[in-house]
């Protein structure tokens, strides 16, 4: 990964408390897994940013290497890699996600 790309991803993650790297957009997710993540965050009613990896090949490949995670979507909360759709569902069902986003938004 080029230092420029790493810097770009660093900045995106730093500047947004909750950011989702996904296929499609909030209004039009292009994949069921990305849709799951959007629906969960919508249910929590928290503000979040999204990056459409289908519009940006560099990020699409780069984020996999950056996170050491082979799939999209990927969620970062407060600069921390949280995981993809499966982990988001699990954390949501356990009630832990609510707590994580509250802490992130309060900080």
């Amino acid at each position: 990964m080029t230092p420029e790309l790493k810097q770009r991803i660093d900045n995106l993650i730093k500047e947004n408390k909750i950011i989702v790297f996904m296929k499609g957009t909030k209004l039009m997710p292009m994949c069921g897994f990305s849709n799951n993540v959007v629906q969960i965050l919508n249910t929590l009613g928290v503000p979040f940013e999204t990056v459409n990896v289908l519009d940006d090949y560099e990020i699409r490949q780069g984020i996999k290497e950056y996170s050491n995670w082979p799939t999209i979507p990927q969620v970062y909360i407060n600069g921390q890699f949280v995981g993809g759709s499966d982990i988001m569902i699990e954390l949501y069902q356990k009630g832990e996600l609510q707590q994580m986003v509250e802490v992130a938004l309060a900080s």
Partner: protein
Amino acid sequence: MISPQQIETMIKAELPDAQIHIQDLTGGGDHYQVTVVSSQFAGKGLVQQHQLVYRALQQAMSCEAIHALALKTYTPEAWQNTQ
């Protein structure tokens, strides 16, 4: 496309003690739901647990032989608690 047996073999190569349950969600051999129970997950967070499985399946994931993978990971203790 990849067979459930191939997935099981790949995961077992990385996690020899794993109990694995594989479901082909569409019948097309590329959308799978996989549940893995292994003692090697003990003391690890969910991200690290999933990373272990992804590493085992790296080859199949990177060439998109597996297009979609829903993953659940449990330690043997955590698995007992779900039963």
